[in-house]
Symmetry: C2
Protein backbone atom coordinates (compact mmCIF):
# COMPACT_ATOMS: atom_id res chain seq x y z
CA UNK A 1 0.00 0.00 0.00
CA UNK A 2 1.38 3.40 -0.96
CA UNK A 3 1.49 5.91 1.91
CA UNK A 4 -1.32 8.48 1.79
CA UNK A 5 1.16 11.19 0.95
CA UNK A 6 2.27 9.45 -2.26
CA UNK A 7 -1.25 8.54 -3.29
CA UNK A 8 -2.24 12.19 -2.95
CA UNK A 9 0.81 13.63 -4.67
CA UNK A 10 0.04 14.88 -8.19
CA UNK A 11 3.38 14.34 -9.86
CA UNK A 12 3.67 14.00 -13.61
CA UNK A 13 6.81 12.06 -12.85
CA UNK A 14 5.97 8.45 -11.95
CA UNK A 15 9.65 7.56 -11.73
CA UNK A 16 10.28 9.91 -8.82
CA UNK A 17 7.10 8.74 -7.10
CA UNK A 18 8.18 5.09 -7.36
CA UNK A 19 11.67 5.97 -6.18
CA UNK A 20 10.32 7.77 -3.14
CA UNK A 21 7.96 4.89 -2.49
CA UNK A 22 10.87 2.41 -2.46
CA UNK A 23 12.69 4.58 0.05
CA UNK A 24 9.62 4.90 2.25
CA UNK A 25 9.31 1.12 2.34
CA UNK A 26 12.89 1.01 3.64
CA UNK A 27 12.07 3.71 6.19
CA UNK A 28 9.11 1.66 7.38
CA UNK A 29 11.35 -1.38 7.81
CA UNK A 30 13.89 0.71 9.75
CA UNK A 31 11.16 1.90 12.12
CA UNK A 32 9.94 -1.66 12.72
CA UNK A 33 13.45 -2.98 13.27
CA UNK A 34 14.26 -0.19 15.69
CA UNK A 35 11.18 -0.79 17.80
CA UNK A 36 11.56 -4.57 17.96
CA UNK A 37 11.20 -5.93 21.52
CA UNK A 38 11.62 -9.33 23.16
CA UNK A 39 8.57 -8.46 25.27
CA UNK A 40 5.36 -9.71 23.58
CA UNK A 41 3.35 -6.97 25.32
CA UNK A 42 5.56 -4.24 23.86
CA UNK A 43 5.69 -5.94 20.44
CA UNK A 44 1.88 -6.04 20.40
CA UNK A 45 1.57 -2.36 21.30
CA UNK A 46 4.15 -1.46 18.65
CA UNK A 47 2.08 -3.34 16.07
CA UNK A 48 -1.02 -1.37 17.08
CA UNK A 49 0.92 1.88 16.86
CA UNK A 50 2.42 1.14 13.42
CA UNK A 51 -0.55 -0.56 11.75
CA UNK A 52 -2.52 2.52 10.64
CA UNK A 53 -0.19 4.01 8.03
CA UNK A 54 -0.02 7.74 8.36
CA UNK A 55 0.56 10.13 5.51
CA UNK A 56 4.35 9.74 5.78
CA UNK A 57 4.62 13.39 4.80
CA UNK A 58 7.48 14.07 7.22
CA UNK A 59 9.83 11.25 6.16
CA UNK A 60 9.01 11.99 2.49
CA UNK A 61 10.11 15.59 3.02
CA UNK A 62 13.39 14.47 4.61
CA UNK A 63 14.04 12.22 1.60
CA UNK A 64 13.07 14.85 -0.98
CA UNK A 65 15.23 17.48 0.69
CA UNK A 66 18.10 14.99 0.73
CA UNK A 67 17.65 15.02 -3.06
CA UNK A 68 18.33 11.36 -3.84
CA UNK A 69 14.94 9.63 -3.67
CA UNK A 70 15.30 5.97 -4.62
CA UNK A 71 18.97 6.04 -3.67
CA UNK A 72 18.84 7.83 -0.34
CA UNK A 73 21.85 7.55 1.94
CA UNK A 74 21.58 5.41 5.05
CA UNK A 75 21.72 8.63 7.08
CA UNK A 76 18.76 10.13 5.21
CA UNK A 77 16.70 6.94 5.59
CA UNK A 78 17.50 6.86 9.27
CA UNK A 79 16.61 10.52 9.77
CA UNK A 80 13.36 9.91 7.88
CA UNK A 81 12.57 7.03 10.24
CA UNK A 82 13.40 9.20 13.24
CA UNK A 83 11.11 12.10 12.28
CA UNK A 84 8.23 9.68 11.76
CA UNK A 85 8.96 8.11 15.15
CA UNK A 86 9.02 11.54 16.79
CA UNK A 87 5.72 12.38 15.10
CA UNK A 88 4.24 9.06 16.26
CA UNK A 89 5.38 9.59 19.86
CA UNK A 90 3.85 13.07 19.84
CA UNK A 91 0.52 11.75 18.57
CA UNK A 92 0.48 9.07 21.28
CA UNK A 93 0.87 11.68 24.00
CA UNK A 94 -1.45 14.22 22.36
CA UNK A 95 -4.24 11.68 22.14
CA UNK A 96 -3.97 11.06 25.89
CA UNK A 97 -3.88 14.79 26.64
CA UNK A 98 -6.92 15.41 24.41
CA UNK A 99 -8.66 12.16 25.39
CA UNK A 100 -8.84 11.51 21.63
CA UNK A 101 -10.60 8.24 20.89
CA UNK A 102 -10.14 7.95 17.14
CA UNK A 103 -7.33 8.65 14.70
CA UNK A 104 -6.87 7.48 11.12
CA UNK A 105 -10.21 5.70 11.38
CA UNK A 106 -9.14 3.49 14.26
CA UNK A 107 -9.29 3.64 18.05
CA UNK A 108 -6.31 5.52 19.48
CA UNK A 109 -3.88 3.52 21.63
CA UNK A 110 -5.20 5.23 24.75
CA UNK A 111 -8.72 4.18 23.79
CA UNK A 112 -7.64 0.61 22.99
CA UNK A 113 -5.04 -0.09 25.69
CA UNK A 114 -5.34 2.69 28.26
CA UNK A 115 -3.59 5.97 28.97
CA UNK A 116 -0.67 4.27 30.71
CA UNK A 117 0.23 2.18 27.67
CA UNK A 118 -0.03 5.21 25.36
CA UNK A 119 2.14 7.42 27.60
CA UNK A 120 4.83 4.78 28.02
CA UNK A 121 4.77 3.80 24.33
CA UNK A 122 5.26 7.48 23.46
CA UNK A 123 8.31 7.50 25.74
CA UNK A 124 9.51 4.19 24.28
CA UNK A 125 9.26 5.40 20.67
CA UNK A 126 10.69 8.86 21.30
CA UNK A 127 13.65 7.66 23.36
CA UNK A 128 14.44 5.05 20.70
CA UNK A 129 14.44 7.77 18.04
CA UNK A 130 17.05 9.69 20.04
CA UNK A 131 19.26 6.63 20.48
CA UNK A 132 19.12 6.00 16.70
CA UNK A 133 20.53 9.45 16.02
CA UNK A 134 23.18 9.06 18.71
CA UNK A 135 24.26 5.64 17.40
CA UNK A 136 24.49 6.98 13.85
CA UNK A 137 26.49 9.97 15.14
CA UNK A 138 24.23 12.40 13.29
CA UNK A 139 25.14 15.14 15.72
CA UNK A 140 23.90 18.19 13.84
CA UNK A 141 20.57 16.55 13.04
CA UNK A 142 20.28 15.34 16.63
CA UNK A 143 20.77 18.90 17.87
CA UNK A 144 18.10 20.21 15.52
CA UNK A 145 15.55 17.47 16.23
CA UNK A 146 16.09 17.44 20.01
CA UNK A 147 15.45 21.17 20.12
CA UNK A 148 12.44 20.70 17.87
CA UNK A 149 10.92 18.11 20.18
CA UNK A 150 11.47 20.39 23.15
CA UNK A 151 9.74 23.29 21.38
CA UNK A 152 6.88 21.00 20.35
CA UNK A 153 6.25 20.29 24.03
CA UNK A 154 6.19 24.06 24.61
CA UNK A 155 3.57 24.40 21.85
CA UNK A 156 1.47 21.63 23.35
CA UNK A 157 1.71 23.18 26.83
CA UNK A 158 0.67 26.59 25.42
CA UNK A 159 -2.29 24.94 23.73
CA UNK A 160 -3.25 23.27 27.01
CA UNK A 161 -3.04 26.61 28.80
CA UNK A 162 -5.25 28.31 26.22
CA UNK A 163 -8.06 25.77 26.46
CA UNK A 164 -11.40 27.20 27.37
CA UNK A 165 -9.99 30.70 27.74
CA UNK A 166 -11.30 33.87 26.16
CA UNK A 167 -10.97 34.29 22.41
CA UNK A 168 -7.36 33.95 21.23
CA UNK A 169 -5.34 36.53 19.39
CA UNK A 170 -4.50 35.23 15.92
CA UNK A 171 -0.82 35.76 16.64
CA UNK A 172 -1.02 33.45 19.64
CA UNK A 173 -2.73 30.80 17.50
CA UNK A 174 0.04 31.14 14.91
CA UNK A 175 2.77 30.78 17.51
CA UNK A 176 1.14 27.65 18.93
CA UNK A 177 0.78 25.94 15.55
CA UNK A 178 4.32 26.91 14.63
CA UNK A 179 5.67 25.28 17.79
CA UNK A 180 3.47 22.21 17.81
CA UNK A 181 3.38 21.39 14.08
CA UNK A 182 5.35 23.59 11.69
CA UNK A 183 8.66 23.32 13.54
CA UNK A 184 8.92 19.58 12.93
CA UNK A 185 8.11 19.93 9.23
CA UNK A 186 10.62 22.77 8.99
CA UNK A 187 13.17 20.53 10.72
CA UNK A 188 12.41 17.64 8.32
CA UNK A 189 13.28 19.78 5.30
CA UNK A 190 16.37 21.25 6.95
CA UNK A 191 17.49 17.76 8.03
CA UNK A 192 17.34 16.29 4.53
CA UNK A 193 19.21 19.25 3.16
CA UNK A 194 21.88 19.12 5.89
CA UNK A 195 22.44 15.41 5.23
CA UNK A 196 22.82 16.13 1.51
CA UNK A 197 25.65 18.49 2.43
CA UNK A 198 23.79 21.44 0.91
CA UNK A 199 25.16 24.98 1.30
CA UNK A 200 23.69 27.11 4.12
CA UNK A 201 21.52 29.12 1.69
CA UNK A 202 19.82 25.94 0.45
CA UNK A 203 19.31 24.63 3.98
CA UNK A 204 17.66 27.95 4.83
CA UNK A 205 15.44 27.80 1.71
CA UNK A 206 14.38 24.25 2.61
CA UNK A 207 13.66 25.32 6.19
CA UNK A 208 11.56 28.27 4.98
CA UNK A 209 9.70 25.97 2.64
CA UNK A 210 9.06 23.47 5.45
CA UNK A 211 7.92 26.09 7.94
CA UNK A 212 5.35 27.46 5.51
CA UNK A 213 4.20 23.99 4.49
CA UNK A 214 3.86 23.18 8.18
CA UNK A 215 1.75 26.25 8.89
CA UNK A 216 -0.47 25.46 5.88
CA UNK A 217 -0.70 21.83 6.96
CA UNK A 218 -1.95 22.68 10.46
CA UNK A 219 -4.41 25.30 9.26
CA UNK A 220 -5.86 22.81 6.74
CA UNK A 221 -6.10 20.30 9.59
CA UNK A 222 -8.06 22.88 11.55
CA UNK A 223 -10.30 23.60 8.55
CA UNK A 224 -11.00 19.89 8.07
CA UNK A 225 -12.18 19.71 11.66
CA UNK A 226 -15.05 21.97 10.58
CA UNK A 227 -15.63 20.75 7.04
CA UNK A 228 -14.48 17.20 6.40
CA UNK A 229 -16.49 14.09 5.86
CA UNK A 230 -15.91 12.33 9.22
CA UNK A 231 -15.45 8.99 7.43
CA UNK A 232 -12.67 10.35 5.20
CA UNK A 233 -11.15 12.27 8.11
CA UNK A 234 -10.99 9.18 10.30
CA UNK A 235 -12.29 11.02 13.38
CA UNK A 236 -15.38 13.05 14.33
CA UNK A 237 -15.79 16.61 13.04
CA UNK A 238 -15.73 19.31 15.72
CA UNK A 239 -13.11 17.48 17.80
CA UNK A 240 -11.05 20.63 18.32
CA UNK A 241 -13.99 22.51 19.82
CA UNK A 242 -14.77 19.51 21.98
CA UNK A 243 -11.19 19.67 23.28
CA UNK A 244 -11.43 23.41 23.97
CA UNK A 245 -9.14 24.33 21.07
CA UNK A 246 -9.74 27.58 19.24
CA UNK A 247 -8.53 27.36 15.67
CA UNK A 248 -8.27 29.76 12.77
CA UNK A 249 -11.71 29.07 11.19
CA UNK A 250 -13.31 30.08 14.48
CA UNK A 251 -11.08 33.14 14.93
CA UNK A 252 -11.69 34.34 11.36
CA UNK A 253 -15.43 33.71 11.62
CA UNK A 254 -15.46 35.81 14.77
CA UNK A 255 -13.48 38.58 13.08
CA UNK A 256 -15.86 38.58 10.08
CA UNK A 257 -19.08 38.53 12.09
CA UNK A 258 -21.33 41.54 12.61
CA UNK A 259 -22.03 42.56 16.24
CA UNK A 260 -25.13 40.36 16.57
CA UNK A 261 -23.54 37.22 15.21
CA UNK A 262 -20.38 37.89 17.18
CA UNK A 263 -22.35 38.05 20.42
CA UNK A 264 -24.19 34.89 19.44
CA UNK A 265 -20.93 33.07 18.66
CA UNK A 266 -19.47 34.11 22.01
CA UNK A 267 -22.59 32.98 23.84
CA UNK A 268 -22.54 29.60 22.06
CA UNK A 269 -18.85 29.13 22.91
CA UNK A 270 -19.54 29.97 26.54
CA UNK A 271 -22.40 27.46 26.64
CA UNK A 272 -19.96 24.60 26.10
CA UNK A 273 -20.49 21.09 24.82
CA UNK A 274 -24.21 21.14 24.12
CA UNK A 275 -24.00 23.98 21.59
CA UNK A 276 -20.99 22.60 19.72
CA UNK A 277 -22.90 21.71 16.54
CA UNK A 278 -24.37 25.22 16.49
CA UNK A 279 -20.86 26.69 16.75
CA UNK A 280 -19.72 24.54 13.83
CA UNK A 281 -22.73 25.66 11.77
CA UNK A 282 -22.30 29.35 12.61
CA UNK A 283 -18.52 29.29 11.91
CA UNK A 284 -19.27 27.72 8.53
CA UNK A 285 -22.00 30.24 7.76
CA UNK A 286 -19.66 33.08 8.62
CA UNK A 287 -17.13 31.70 6.13
CA UNK A 288 -14.49 30.85 8.74
CA UNK A 289 -13.25 27.63 7.07
CA UNK A 290 -13.09 29.29 3.64
CA UNK A 291 -11.14 32.26 5.00
CA UNK A 292 -8.78 29.95 6.89
CA UNK A 293 -8.19 27.91 3.73
CA UNK A 294 -7.27 31.13 1.92
CA UNK A 295 -4.83 31.81 4.77
CA UNK A 296 -3.35 28.31 4.35
CA UNK A 297 -2.97 28.96 0.62
CA UNK A 298 -0.97 32.11 1.41
CA UNK A 299 1.44 29.96 3.44
CA UNK A 300 1.49 27.60 0.47
CA UNK A 301 2.52 30.49 -1.79
CA UNK A 302 5.24 31.50 0.65
CA UNK A 303 6.46 27.90 0.54
CA UNK A 304 6.58 28.05 -3.27
CA UNK A 305 8.51 31.32 -3.06
CA UNK A 306 11.12 29.57 -0.89
CA UNK A 307 11.34 26.83 -3.53
CA UNK A 308 12.25 29.54 -6.03
CA UNK A 309 15.60 29.82 -4.21
CA UNK A 310 16.40 26.16 -5.01
CA UNK A 311 17.59 24.76 -8.35
CA UNK A 312 14.81 23.81 -10.79
CA UNK A 313 14.26 20.10 -11.43
CA UNK A 314 12.30 17.02 -10.44
CA UNK A 315 12.77 17.53 -6.72
CA UNK A 316 11.51 21.09 -6.86
CA UNK A 317 8.50 19.96 -8.88
CA UNK A 318 7.77 17.27 -6.30
CA UNK A 319 7.97 19.79 -3.47
CA UNK A 320 5.66 22.09 -5.42
CA UNK A 321 3.18 19.22 -5.77
CA UNK A 322 3.52 18.68 -2.01
CA UNK A 323 2.15 22.17 -1.45
CA UNK A 324 -0.87 21.31 -3.62
CA UNK A 325 -1.35 18.09 -1.67
CA UNK A 326 -1.17 19.85 1.69
CA UNK A 327 -3.71 22.56 0.87
CA UNK A 328 -6.08 20.35 -1.15
CA UNK A 329 -6.16 17.21 0.97
CA UNK A 330 -9.42 15.98 2.42
CA UNK A 331 -8.02 14.19 5.44
CA UNK B 1 17.92 23.25 52.94
CA UNK B 2 20.25 20.34 52.43
CA UNK B 3 18.95 17.69 50.01
CA UNK B 4 17.54 14.60 51.75
CA UNK B 5 20.42 12.54 50.50
CA UNK B 6 22.99 14.71 52.28
CA UNK B 7 20.98 14.94 55.46
CA UNK B 8 20.80 11.17 55.57
CA UNK B 9 24.43 10.53 54.70
CA UNK B 10 26.48 9.42 57.68
CA UNK B 11 29.88 10.77 56.74
CA UNK B 12 32.56 11.43 59.30
CA UNK B 13 33.89 13.95 56.82
CA UNK B 14 31.91 17.22 57.02
CA UNK B 15 34.24 18.85 54.49
CA UNK B 16 33.20 16.46 51.71
CA UNK B 17 29.54 16.81 52.66
CA UNK B 18 29.74 20.60 52.44
CA UNK B 19 31.62 20.40 49.15
CA UNK B 20 28.97 18.11 47.68
CA UNK B 21 26.27 20.38 49.01
CA UNK B 22 27.82 23.40 47.26
CA UNK B 23 27.87 21.47 44.00
CA UNK B 24 24.28 20.33 44.41
CA UNK B 25 23.21 23.95 44.85
CA UNK B 26 24.85 24.71 41.50
CA UNK B 27 23.13 21.69 39.95
CA UNK B 28 19.79 22.97 41.23
CA UNK B 29 20.46 26.37 39.65
CA UNK B 30 21.40 24.71 36.37
CA UNK B 31 18.12 22.79 36.34
CA UNK B 32 16.10 25.94 37.01
CA UNK B 33 17.96 27.93 34.34
CA UNK B 34 17.48 25.18 31.78
CA UNK B 35 13.74 24.94 32.35
CA UNK B 36 13.11 28.70 32.28
CA UNK B 37 10.20 29.68 30.02
CA UNK B 38 8.69 32.94 28.80
CA UNK B 39 5.28 31.29 29.23
CA UNK B 40 3.87 31.97 32.72
CA UNK B 41 1.84 28.74 32.57
CA UNK B 42 4.97 26.67 31.93
CA UNK B 43 7.00 28.62 34.50
CA UNK B 44 4.30 27.93 37.09
CA UNK B 45 4.24 24.21 36.34
CA UNK B 46 8.04 24.08 36.50
CA UNK B 47 7.90 25.68 39.93
CA UNK B 48 5.42 23.04 41.12
CA UNK B 49 7.64 20.30 39.71
CA UNK B 50 10.85 21.60 41.30
CA UNK B 51 9.50 22.77 44.66
CA UNK B 52 9.50 19.45 46.56
CA UNK B 53 13.21 18.69 46.80
CA UNK B 54 13.90 15.06 46.13
CA UNK B 55 16.72 13.09 47.65
CA UNK B 56 19.14 14.23 44.93
CA UNK B 57 20.76 10.81 45.18
CA UNK B 58 21.32 10.55 41.42
CA UNK B 59 23.12 13.88 40.86
CA UNK B 60 25.15 13.28 44.04
CA UNK B 61 26.32 9.94 42.63
CA UNK B 62 27.36 11.60 39.36
CA UNK B 63 29.38 14.17 41.32
CA UNK B 64 30.95 11.61 43.66
CA UNK B 65 31.92 9.36 40.75
CA UNK B 66 33.42 12.39 39.00
CA UNK B 67 35.65 12.57 42.10
CA UNK B 68 35.90 16.34 42.51
CA UNK B 69 33.02 17.30 44.81
CA UNK B 70 33.15 21.00 45.56
CA UNK B 71 35.15 21.63 42.40
CA UNK B 72 33.17 19.59 39.89
CA UNK B 73 33.75 20.31 36.22
CA UNK B 74 31.02 22.10 34.28
CA UNK B 75 30.42 18.82 32.42
CA UNK B 76 29.89 16.90 35.67
CA UNK B 77 27.50 19.54 37.04
CA UNK B 78 25.56 19.50 33.79
CA UNK B 79 25.37 15.71 33.70
CA UNK B 80 24.20 15.77 37.34
CA UNK B 81 21.45 18.23 36.36
CA UNK B 82 20.49 16.05 33.42
CA UNK B 83 20.10 12.82 35.42
CA UNK B 84 17.90 14.61 37.93
CA UNK B 85 15.81 16.03 35.07
CA UNK B 86 15.46 12.56 33.54
CA UNK B 87 14.42 11.20 36.93
CA UNK B 88 11.91 14.03 37.34
CA UNK B 89 10.41 13.46 33.88
CA UNK B 90 10.06 9.76 34.63
CA UNK B 91 8.26 10.45 37.90
CA UNK B 92 5.86 12.84 36.16
CA UNK B 93 4.84 10.15 33.68
CA UNK B 94 4.82 7.32 36.23
CA UNK B 95 2.46 9.24 38.47
CA UNK B 96 0.01 9.60 35.58
CA UNK B 97 0.35 5.92 34.66
CA UNK B 98 -0.20 4.87 38.29
CA UNK B 99 -2.77 7.59 38.99
CA UNK B 100 -0.54 8.49 41.94
CA UNK B 101 -1.96 11.37 43.96
CA UNK B 102 0.84 12.05 46.42
CA UNK B 103 4.61 12.15 46.27
CA UNK B 104 7.09 13.66 48.69
CA UNK B 105 4.17 14.68 50.89
CA UNK B 106 2.55 16.83 48.23
CA UNK B 107 -0.07 16.36 45.53
CA UNK B 108 1.48 15.03 42.31
CA UNK B 109 1.36 17.30 39.27
CA UNK B 110 -1.31 15.12 37.70
CA UNK B 111 -3.41 15.49 40.87
CA UNK B 112 -2.85 19.25 41.02
CA UNK B 113 -2.95 20.27 37.34
CA UNK B 114 -4.30 17.29 35.43
CA UNK B 115 -2.86 14.39 33.47
CA UNK B 116 -2.29 16.51 30.36
CA UNK B 117 -0.05 18.99 32.17
CA UNK B 118 1.93 16.17 33.80
CA UNK B 119 2.45 14.27 30.52
CA UNK B 120 3.54 17.38 28.63
CA UNK B 121 5.77 18.62 31.46
CA UNK B 122 7.46 15.21 31.47
CA UNK B 123 8.11 15.63 27.74
CA UNK B 124 9.27 19.22 28.30
CA UNK B 125 11.76 18.28 31.03
CA UNK B 126 13.07 15.16 29.32
CA UNK B 127 13.55 16.79 25.92
CA UNK B 128 15.36 19.71 27.56
CA UNK B 129 17.70 17.28 29.30
CA UNK B 130 18.61 15.78 25.92
CA UNK B 131 19.27 19.19 24.37
CA UNK B 132 21.57 20.08 27.30
CA UNK B 133 23.75 17.05 26.57
CA UNK B 134 23.74 17.79 22.84
CA UNK B 135 24.68 21.45 23.37
CA UNK B 136 27.50 20.49 25.72
CA UNK B 137 28.69 17.87 23.18
CA UNK B 138 28.82 15.19 25.87
CA UNK B 139 28.40 12.51 23.23
CA UNK B 140 29.42 9.43 25.18
CA UNK B 141 27.24 10.39 28.15
CA UNK B 142 24.37 11.22 25.80
CA UNK B 143 24.62 7.76 24.27
CA UNK B 144 24.58 6.11 27.68
CA UNK B 145 21.73 8.19 29.09
CA UNK B 146 19.56 8.03 25.95
CA UNK B 147 19.80 4.24 25.99
CA UNK B 148 19.08 4.26 29.71
CA UNK B 149 15.90 6.28 29.23
CA UNK B 150 14.77 3.94 26.49
CA UNK B 151 15.35 0.89 28.70
CA UNK B 152 13.52 2.62 31.57
CA UNK B 153 10.45 2.87 29.34
CA UNK B 154 10.80 -0.86 28.65
CA UNK B 155 10.85 -1.51 32.39
CA UNK B 156 7.77 0.64 32.93
CA UNK B 157 5.93 -1.12 30.09
CA UNK B 158 6.85 -4.54 31.54
CA UNK B 159 5.53 -3.40 34.91
CA UNK B 160 2.29 -2.24 33.28
CA UNK B 161 1.93 -5.59 31.52
CA UNK B 162 2.45 -7.52 34.77
CA UNK B 163 -0.23 -5.63 36.68
CA UNK B 164 -2.91 -7.79 38.13
CA UNK B 165 -1.44 -10.93 36.61
CA UNK B 166 -0.68 -14.18 38.40
CA UNK B 167 2.17 -14.22 40.90
CA UNK B 168 5.47 -13.04 39.38
CA UNK B 169 8.67 -15.00 39.17
CA UNK B 170 11.33 -13.29 41.30
CA UNK B 171 13.58 -13.09 38.25
CA UNK B 172 10.94 -11.10 36.36
CA UNK B 173 10.62 -8.73 39.31
CA UNK B 174 14.39 -8.26 39.34
CA UNK B 175 14.51 -7.55 35.63
CA UNK B 176 11.75 -4.95 35.93
CA UNK B 177 13.41 -3.08 38.80
CA UNK B 178 16.75 -3.22 37.03
CA UNK B 179 15.27 -1.60 33.93
CA UNK B 180 13.05 0.95 35.63
CA UNK B 181 15.31 2.01 38.51
CA UNK B 182 18.77 0.46 38.77
CA UNK B 183 19.83 1.26 35.20
CA UNK B 184 19.66 5.01 35.79
CA UNK B 185 21.61 4.81 39.06
CA UNK B 186 24.17 2.58 37.30
CA UNK B 187 24.36 5.16 34.50
CA UNK B 188 24.83 8.00 37.01
CA UNK B 189 27.90 6.34 38.49
CA UNK B 190 29.32 5.42 35.06
CA UNK B 191 28.66 8.98 33.82
CA UNK B 192 30.60 10.66 36.61
CA UNK B 193 33.46 8.27 36.13
CA UNK B 194 33.51 8.73 32.33
CA UNK B 195 33.57 12.51 32.74
CA UNK B 196 36.49 12.20 35.17
CA UNK B 197 38.39 10.40 32.41
CA UNK B 198 38.69 7.26 34.54
CA UNK B 199 40.13 4.07 33.03
CA UNK B 200 37.65 1.46 31.77
CA UNK B 201 38.14 -0.75 34.83
CA UNK B 202 37.11 2.10 37.15
CA UNK B 203 34.08 2.98 35.00
CA UNK B 204 33.03 -0.67 35.21
CA UNK B 205 33.51 -0.73 38.99
CA UNK B 206 31.43 2.43 39.34
CA UNK B 207 28.73 0.95 37.10
CA UNK B 208 28.66 -2.27 39.16
CA UNK B 209 28.42 -0.22 42.31
CA UNK B 210 25.57 1.85 40.89
CA UNK B 211 23.63 -1.14 39.59
CA UNK B 212 23.72 -2.81 43.00
CA UNK B 213 22.86 0.41 44.82
CA UNK B 214 19.97 0.84 42.39
CA UNK B 215 18.62 -2.65 43.03
CA UNK B 216 18.90 -2.10 46.79
CA UNK B 217 17.26 1.29 46.45
CA UNK B 218 14.20 -0.07 44.65
CA UNK B 219 13.79 -3.04 46.98
CA UNK B 220 13.93 -0.72 50.00
CA UNK B 221 11.32 1.45 48.25
CA UNK B 222 9.15 -1.63 47.92
CA UNK B 223 9.72 -2.55 51.58
CA UNK B 224 8.78 0.96 52.69
CA UNK B 225 5.49 0.61 50.86
CA UNK B 226 4.63 -2.11 53.40
CA UNK B 227 6.34 -0.75 56.48
CA UNK B 228 6.87 2.99 56.48
CA UNK B 229 5.16 5.65 58.48
CA UNK B 230 2.94 7.24 55.78
CA UNK B 231 3.79 10.72 57.06
CA UNK B 232 7.55 10.15 56.73
CA UNK B 233 7.07 8.35 53.41
CA UNK B 234 5.06 11.23 51.93
CA UNK B 235 2.46 8.91 50.40
CA UNK B 236 0.05 6.22 51.59
CA UNK B 237 1.35 2.77 52.53
CA UNK B 238 0.15 -0.07 50.29
CA UNK B 239 0.25 2.09 47.13
CA UNK B 240 2.03 -0.59 45.11
CA UNK B 241 -0.68 -3.15 45.83
CA UNK B 242 -3.31 -0.57 45.00
CA UNK B 243 -1.58 -0.09 41.62
CA UNK B 244 -1.46 -3.84 40.97
CA UNK B 245 2.31 -4.03 41.50
CA UNK B 246 3.77 -7.19 43.00
CA UNK B 247 6.99 -6.43 44.83
CA UNK B 248 9.63 -8.48 46.60
CA UNK B 249 8.09 -8.39 50.11
CA UNK B 250 4.95 -9.99 48.68
CA UNK B 251 6.87 -12.53 46.60
CA UNK B 252 9.08 -13.53 49.53
CA UNK B 253 6.10 -13.73 51.91
CA UNK B 254 4.40 -16.03 49.43
CA UNK B 255 7.53 -18.18 49.12
CA UNK B 256 7.86 -18.42 52.91
CA UNK B 257 4.20 -19.20 53.60
CA UNK B 258 2.86 -22.65 54.48
CA UNK B 259 0.15 -24.09 52.21
CA UNK B 260 -2.76 -22.62 54.19
CA UNK B 261 -1.36 -19.11 54.39
CA UNK B 262 -0.29 -19.26 50.77
CA UNK B 263 -3.83 -20.09 49.68
CA UNK B 264 -5.14 -17.32 51.92
CA UNK B 265 -2.67 -14.80 50.45
CA UNK B 266 -3.66 -15.78 46.91
CA UNK B 267 -7.35 -15.46 47.75
CA UNK B 268 -6.81 -12.02 49.30
CA UNK B 269 -4.86 -10.87 46.25
CA UNK B 270 -7.60 -12.12 43.95
CA UNK B 271 -10.23 -10.27 46.01
CA UNK B 272 -8.71 -6.92 44.99
CA UNK B 273 -8.95 -3.52 46.60
CA UNK B 274 -11.13 -4.29 49.61
CA UNK B 275 -8.70 -6.82 51.07
CA UNK B 276 -5.59 -4.69 50.56
CA UNK B 277 -5.01 -3.98 54.26
CA UNK B 278 -5.29 -7.70 55.00
CA UNK B 279 -2.66 -8.42 52.33
CA UNK B 280 -0.34 -5.85 53.91
CA UNK B 281 -0.88 -7.41 57.34
CA UNK B 282 -0.36 -10.97 56.11
CA UNK B 283 2.78 -10.08 54.12
CA UNK B 284 4.19 -8.44 57.25
CA UNK B 285 3.25 -11.39 59.44
CA UNK B 286 4.96 -13.75 56.99
CA UNK B 287 8.15 -11.69 57.25
CA UNK B 288 8.10 -10.51 53.62
CA UNK B 289 9.44 -6.99 54.29
CA UNK B 290 12.20 -8.30 56.59
CA UNK B 291 13.30 -10.90 54.03
CA UNK B 292 13.24 -8.29 51.24
CA UNK B 293 15.34 -5.95 53.35
CA UNK B 294 17.89 -8.74 53.80
CA UNK B 295 17.87 -9.11 50.02
CA UNK B 296 18.46 -5.37 49.61
CA UNK B 297 21.37 -5.63 52.06
CA UNK B 298 22.92 -8.33 49.89
CA UNK B 299 22.84 -5.90 46.94
CA UNK B 300 24.38 -3.36 49.30
CA UNK B 301 27.24 -5.77 50.05
CA UNK B 302 27.73 -6.38 46.31
CA UNK B 303 27.93 -2.61 45.87
CA UNK B 304 30.61 -2.43 48.59
CA UNK B 305 32.52 -5.22 46.87
CA UNK B 306 32.56 -3.16 43.68
CA UNK B 307 33.92 -0.23 45.71
CA UNK B 308 36.81 -2.47 46.70
CA UNK B 309 38.02 -2.19 43.10
CA UNK B 310 38.38 1.61 43.46
CA UNK B 311 41.18 3.49 45.22
CA UNK B 312 40.63 4.02 48.96
CA UNK B 313 39.90 7.57 50.10
CA UNK B 314 37.21 10.08 50.96
CA UNK B 315 35.16 9.38 47.83
CA UNK B 316 35.08 5.66 48.49
CA UNK B 317 34.07 6.29 52.09
CA UNK B 318 31.26 8.57 50.92
CA UNK B 319 30.02 5.92 48.49
CA UNK B 320 30.16 3.37 51.30
CA UNK B 321 28.04 5.67 53.44
CA UNK B 322 25.64 5.97 50.50
CA UNK B 323 25.01 2.23 50.72
CA UNK B 324 24.13 2.63 54.40
CA UNK B 325 21.83 5.50 53.55
CA UNK B 326 20.05 3.55 50.82
CA UNK B 327 19.35 0.47 52.90
CA UNK B 328 18.57 2.27 56.16
CA UNK B 329 16.43 5.15 54.90
CA UNK B 330 12.88 5.55 56.14
CA UNK B 331 11.45 7.33 53.09
Amino acid sequence: MKPAFLKGLKLGNGVLKDALDRDLVRVEALIRDSLRSDQPFIAGLTETVLAPHGKRLRPALVLLAAEQPGASSQAALLAAAVVEMIHTATLLHDDVVDAGLQRRGRPTLNAASGDGAAILMGDFVYSRAITLLVEAELTQVLGLLATTVHRMSVGELMQLDLRNQGLLEQEVYRRVIYEKTARLIEACCATGSILAGAPAASVAAYADFGRNVGMAFQIVDDVLDFEADPHTLGKPVGSDLAEGKQTLPLLLAHAAAGPGERARLEALLAAGAESRQEVVDLVRRLGGPRAALADARRYGEAARAALGRLPAGDIRRALDATVDYVVEREH
